[in-house]
Every structure is written in C-alpha cells, then in structure tokens.
Symmetry: C3
Subunit: 359 residues, 3 copies
C-alpha cells in the first residue's frame, strides 16, 4: 500500500537534530536529511547532492549550510545551491535539492512529503500536554521492523497487554473487559475500562496504587491519520470516584520508514505545576515503557511482518475479533485516503515543481 503524502509526519525528535549535525533518515522510503538552518529552524531535504548523488548528510554543516563532502557544492536549508567552489563559481542549472515543508512542534520535527502548497501547520493536531510552555515532557524513539500500520494496530487494541506484556503493562483482567470503538470522521477512538484489576507493580507504582490493591483502569486510544495516536491511561483505586483517577497522557507518532519498517516516536507530558514529581513520573514512564516496547512489542511486530511478507493484509484473510474494530476502521481510513490521493494524482497537475516532485 502506498503512503498518504499530503499530511504531516514526524521526521525526527527535536533532540536528535542538534544545531551542528545533519541526520540521515529514511522516511516514506526516501533517503532524507534533517538539519537546522542558521536560526535553528528545521529543514528536511532529499539526502542526495544533485551533482554526483553523494549523501548531503555526510557533508559539513555550518551556519545552516551543508557543504557536500565530495566536491564542495553548498546547499542552504531551502534546498538551493548557494555555493560552487569550482572555477568561476557559477551555480550549475538544476543544482537544487528537493525541500520538504517542515515545522518543529511538541519536541519533534514534522515534515510534509506531499505537495508543498498544501502544507499547512494548522493541519497538525493538538497535543496540549506536550506544549513545553506548560508541560514537562520526555520523548522516546524506536525503529520497528514492521509496517507503521501494524504498530498503529498494536496500539489500537491494547488487549494485547495481557498476553504480550504480562509482567509489566498487563494483567489477567484486560481481555475480558469491555471495549468500545467510536469513529468521528477520520478519527478513531477506542475505550476500554477494566475493573477489579490487579495491576503489575510497574503500573501500580506509576499511578500511586498500593501494590496488590485492586484498581480501575481506563484506556482511551485516539487515532488519526497517518499514524498519530494519543493514549490516556486513567487509574483509580477500586471503588474511588472517577475524578480521583490519576491520568497519564502520551502521544505516539508513527512514520513509515519503508513499506515494512517504521519509526516509532512517543512522548509523555505532565503539567509543569507538578515540578520534580512530574519530572520523575515522565522519566519513569519513558524508561519503564522501553522494556516492554523493545523486548516484547518490537520482536512480535517483526515476526508478524515476516509472517505476512509483502502480502496485502486483507489477502491473508484475517479472522477478525470484535476487538479489531478500531484497527480495522483505521486501516480502512488510510486505504481510502491513499486511494483519494492516487485518483487526484491522475488529474493533470498545474503546479510544475510539485508535479515534478511526485514520485
């Protein structure tokens, strides 16, 4: 399945791109380079010098300009060649690199792989709990050897906590609990409420529940295309009022690396007013989740992808459960959006550079 192009994807965490270093990264199966211009603004370019195709990410970055390591052509953050050290120094025709609209927000650098004219920062969803002005935030990153859709589906059906993460995130009460899936336009919302739950100590500690005590846990997963999720976990002592629940909010951003691998970015945020405790809790959340994510989710996703090979998901005739409702809805939305973009692409394009940039 092709990727949606006219949408924002995360290219990198902000912390992965210091002022002085260019980051080479495969995104939507393209070799791209992510770096910062002189003012610190992010830039996402094709990672290929137009002269002899050396990767620009191997070049030298200074004052927001990359000097190609091979023959010294210089490129600015907007992709234009701004220096030719050879002979009379004339800039050769065609010496520019495709530049993708990009924006830094929520501790991440976002880019728009589709038509530049359609890139609009207002289309980026809101994650107010990741606003650095008001929140303590912390981010994590993992590369997965599976399609970004498999990762999204993993998050849209958290009943797997019980089987894949029995000693960290899971418990014996999850699968039998009630889950509800709702849709709103291109958004999907899955809710699961687990009662009388004996939490594993990682979860109990994170939410301040006494070890061994019963609790009520509510999981709210919000998905929107292309692969952007928010997960709210609310935990209250058994019998307590719902408004006594402590809530952990996290964002989960999936970007295709290739058709069968993905970048998985995630982030936690808590109000600044929590001070040192909030700091401790977001650190605890990120480091605590790394273990099940890396040791349990990643191998399972890779095994799932390997079992599927390059086959289309539906061609394998999956036996679906009611708990797949959210994942199926999300997959259908992505498929519809991809089809719509492909149909549109068949119409002759008025905007020459954008057309030329179409893969």
């Amino acid at each position: 399945m092709p990727f949606i192009e006219n949408t924002w994807y995360v290219a990198a965490l902000a912390s992965e791109v210091p002022a002085s270093t260019a980051l080479a990264r495969r995104l939507l199966d393209r070799a791209l380079v992510v770096f910062r211009d002189e003012r610190g603004e992010p830039a996402v370019l094709d990672d290929r010098c137009p002269h002899r195709f050396a990767p620009l990410s191997r070049g030298q970055l200074a004052h927001g300009v990359i000097t190609c390591r091979y023959h010294g052509l210089r490129f600015a953050a907007d992709g234009r060649c701004v220096g030719n050290p050879h002979g009379d120094g004339r800039i050769p025709a065609g010496a520019h690199v495709r530049r993708y609209p990009s924006i830094e927000r929520y501790g991440a650098i976002w880019f728009w792989p589709g038509e530049p004219a359609r890139a609009d920062a207002a289309l980026l969803p809101d994650w107010p709990f990741l606003d650095p002005a008001t929140s303590i935030t912390r981010h994590g990153y993992l590369e997965t050897a599976a399609s970004y859709m498999l990762s999204a589906e993993n998050l849209l059906d958290l009943s797997h906590f019980q089987f894949l993460h029995p000693y960290t995130l899971g418990s014996g009460e999850i699968a039998a609990s009630a889950a509800r899936t709702q849709g709103d336009g291109d958004h999907v919302h899955v809710t699961r409420e687990i009662h009388h739950e004996k939490l594993q100590s990682f979860v109990a500690d994170a939410f301040g529940i006494a070890r061994g005590a019963l609790a009520t846990r509510r999981l709210d997963v919000h998905w929107q295309p292309p692969g952007l999720l928010t997960i709210d976990v609310a935990v209250a002592p058994e019998g307590a009022a719902a408004d006594q629940a402590r809530v952990a909010r996290s964002a989960h951003w999936l970007t295709p690396r290739t058709p069968t691998s993905a970048h998985y970015f995630f982030a936690f945020g808590l109000p600044r007013t929590l001070g040192a405790l909030g700091e401790k809790l977001v650190r605890f959340a990120i480091s605590g989740l790394m273990l099940p994510f890396e040791r349990e989710d990643l191998p399972m996703l890779a095994a799932q992808q390997e079992a599927m090979g390059s086959a289309d998901f539906w061609s394998l005739n999956p036996a679906l459960l009611p708990t797949d409702a959210g994942a199926v809805r999300a997959r259908r939305i992505v498929e519809r959006l991809v089809r719509a973009e492909q149909a549109q692409r068949r119409v002759p394009c008025q905007d020459a550079p954008a057309c030329a940039a179409r893969p």
Copy 2:
C-alpha cells in the same frame, strides 16, 4: 523445481520437540510449527495465527494447546481455535490453522504437505534397524545451504569420499572401484565394492579392522522419493568371507527448507542385543560423521548451490560421468512425480479443504 507434496517428509527429530516447547521450522518453503498434543502425539501446523499472523511458535504451549502470545487465541493440535479470551469468548469464523497430517516414527516426526486425505502411514518406508523396540539408535541433524536434491546426489555418489573426505571416510581406492546402479520403480540402488582398501583410521576403528590392514568395503545406497536414503556400509578384512563383514546401517532423510536449502536428518541403528558396544558404536558413528559432514560436505554443497544460483540443473549442461547414473535416475524420478502432481492439480478438485490448501 516445485516439491513433491503427496509424500512424507521429516519435519523434525523427535528429540527436537519436547512436550513443553513448540519448534518453528521452515519446511518446503512454508513457516510451520511442530509441537506435541496432550498425549504426546506430534502436530504440524502453519506457524501463523489466523487473527493477526503472529507466529504460534512464539506462543505458550500447555497441555497440547498453544496460546498465541499476541492476543491470546488458543489453538489445539488439530488447528482449531479452542479459546478466545476476549469479550464474550465467541470463536471467530475462520479462526483455524492449517494442520498437516503427521506421525512419529523412527525417532522422527513426519508430515504430509499435500492432500490430507491421501496421507497414509503405510506409505512410510521401513527402517527396521531404527525400530526402538529392537534397536539402539542415535540421530543427527544439519541444515544445509543447498537444495535437498544436491544433498541426495551427494549421497548417491559416494566416490566423493576419496576427494572431499580424504582423511576420514575416503581412501585412494574408491574412485577406481566398480559401481553399479539399479532401479526398481521409483527406487534407486547404487552399489560400490572397494577391494584392497587402506582404510582411514576412523573407518578402520569403527569396523574393527586393524589400522593399516587391507580391507574390502561395500557401499549400498538405496534412495526413494522425496529424499529418503538408506546406506549400508559393510567392511571385512581383505580376503575374509562376505558374511564376516561388519555392517553399519544408516538412514538419511532430506527435507527441503527452501528451494536452495535443506534439512538433513540422519540416524544409525544397531541391534539392542549388542548392548553397551552397540551404544558406543552408534555414538561413535554419529559424532565421527559430524566432522566431515559439517566441515567438508556442507561447505561444498553451499558452494555448489551458489555456483548454480537459481538455474535449473539441466540448463547448466552438466558433463556427466558413469558414476552419476544413480543421481540422474533419482532426479528424473522426482521431476516426473512433480510433473504428475502438477498435471493432477489442474483437474478441478472435489475436496474443498484440500483444494483450498493447495498452494
């Protein structure tokens, strides 16, 4: 070349599949899982949960039932889904896994990749010297980076002992000795008798010949499809009557892993009446053969396969020797059986499940 499907292949040695652990194995280019049901009977299934394609071999096996590690669906040895922990627990339609007829015999687990209705234990050849009731047996296993046919041809022409195994199985007298190839239906029998042979010490010791003494060695190789061989090695001191020869009998079972790799199972057996000596001899045989098999045959087979690539054997115009008679006959039989299966498959199938299972 496709594989023969309506026949028995070894999936695993019995010892590779304890009661508590499922074995993931690629067989005939399919991802399969081998395990035991509650009574210890072997089961061979597609290694893919029908829900979201997680490998069942990563699941938990208890009382002959595999619980998928991802979302907890439970599958019995017959491939049926016998438990759904989610919601109301209804078993979803289509939640079954393809199951292959299987049988445990001669210290191995055999499976039938073709039409289940045609699977018949009576079609399994006899290896009476591997009957545990009357024999001391020992087994070995190696994975080879070459087609199972190349391995079979290696065994059908033991003249290679002289060149590939000069210090263990070979001698300078083998190639010049007389070999005779016979056929009987789909069976091939190659005999080679070597006189005045100076045995290498590994062979001399195994057969109780004084080091340095001359001997007569007779090699009898019996092959039948798909890749099942019996090799009898009879050694007598030079000049002794044929009935004074000591005989070592071994079975060699080849199962395609992929078109260019194979599983090689082998086994020795001696009468239980030999007691501790027999025990010692079969152990000596297996461990002694591992060295030339691993260090000499495997690299040569891999190099041969690499030189051939994915080309058809005949398209490379091999220059054949009289000693290739057995190997050529075996290859022609396999080719004929594959063609016959393919012709039959074109006829509309009456048996829906078997048809559906056709690749």
Copy 3:
C-alpha cells in the same frame, strides 16, 4: 549498463596468485578462478567444474593442474579436463571449462572476457614506469562497493581532493584552480595546475617540499577504456622552473566486480636508478594513499552507489559542473563501445566456441 567485453581487464595482482594457490574472484559478474600453470603462466577460467558445478578454486592445485575437490576431475590451465579418476578414466564429453585469454604484465594478470580470437597483447596500453626491468614498483588493491565507472569518475575529477581528503591529498587551492579536458579518440586527458598551494604534509614530504612552503602542483589524468588510468603528479617549489618538478607516476586499473562493485588496482613506479630512495618512495606512496582511499573514497563511493541504487546515471538528471567534462566524456565513450559490441553481437557469429561463450 553491460560491460565492454573485447578488451583487457586486470583480474588480479601478480602477487595475489602464487604458484601454489588458486584465487577465486568475481570479475564482470562471473565467478572466475585465477591460477598459474606449470611454467608460471597465468590462467583465468570459469570457476565451475562442468561436472557438478563445484568451484574449482576449492580444488587442489599442483603442477598447474586443478583437481576438483568434489569428485576429482582434473583440469589444465587451458580449461581441458585432463584426468578422470573414475572407472575406466574416460574423459566425459563436454568436460571442459571456459578459459579466458590472459597475460601477465606490469605486476598484474590481465584477462580478456570477450571473443578469444580478438585478444591481442598489443592492445594492452604501455606503462613503461611499471616495467620491472627498469623500474621499482609497488602495487595496491582495494575492493569498492560501487560501479567501476564511479571510481573512474572519482579519479577523472581530482578537485574532490580538497573536500574528501582535506588532511592528506587536498588543500584549499585545488577547486578554484584551472582544469582542462582534452580528448583523443577513445582517450581522455584532464590536466589541472594548482599554484601557490600549501600542501598537506603527506604530499609535501613525498615530493621533498619543505612543510609550509608554497608549491605548484600539476595533476595529469589519462583515462582509456575500459577503466585504465595513468596519473602523473608533478610538484615543484613555488617559482621554480617546471623541469625542477618531481614527478610521481601511478597507474589505476578498474575492473567491474558486479554492476555495483569493482576491483581497484593501483601501482607506483620509479626508475631503478633511484635505488633505496626510490624503494622508499613507492612504499611511502602506496601505504600513504591507502588511508584516504580506504577511509574516505571507499565510503563515499559506496554511499554514492547506494543513493543511485540500480538507476541509470543519466536518468537521475545530474547537475553537471565544468569539472565533470572528463568524467562525462569517459562515460560516453564506454556507453558507445558497449552499444557497438551489442550491435555486433546481433550479427550471426561464425566462430562457434566464441558464440557459445557469449553471455
């Protein structure tokens, strides 16, 4: 792009092929074996026994005859089977290996992959400074993960010294210096003269220039198909007469390994009359160049090839600089020669063995 076939390529350095050992090497995407006959003359053969396709390079070489390790067939340096140890010893029909015309010269073993009848030692270019009778020579070898054309283009535009090798071969004065490209038939000659150059110490030391002193450096690159270059570097103290320059002459021979990898052989030579000093200088040159070649050129060439994938160079619309004139001219010559060979190949061939040998 296919390779030119009716031409000489280097198969190996002479020192890589001692009398007693056969060398397996992939050349022009063929598995070949390079060894020496009883008189020490080089032989280049298909590395595949015609019997069962075992690589002959794994066999035993004695007195210029290779005995196949698998079944003992023996092959002479002309590719004929000269011994069959089996049964009556008759040589089977078709038991010969394709042999390529070969010649040893300038410390290298050359072979001709095309029509044998057209192989003519007189077509080999002259490198008088590598004649062992009058010269002290030293050779180097590197395998590169890029097309041989990319390596040739690297050498045809030495302006990259400034950017890729800033601390060894480069300086800040190279790119801005004047380069001139000339052509003569299928030959390309690129000259670059750098004035007022502050040499890096490796170059200064090699040419006897005081560290820190200004110099004039002249680089002359001569290329001819398929990928044979001579590079003369002449360095004189700033202001000195041109005839006071010290000159280092080197040969650079590129042979395709696969379409996207190459063998890079290079050699330095100085007059024998220089004695121990010459000895020291050629050793200094080879070992000193290994560092920038291995650590800087090889990774860049590999990255360039990876960025290009299997795409045709022109299809990527390179933005060319005036400094690419030599590289472009060389690439056009190779393309024209390949097309000419392909056109000729469509004409029915009179010479059966040569035709059969056509890939």
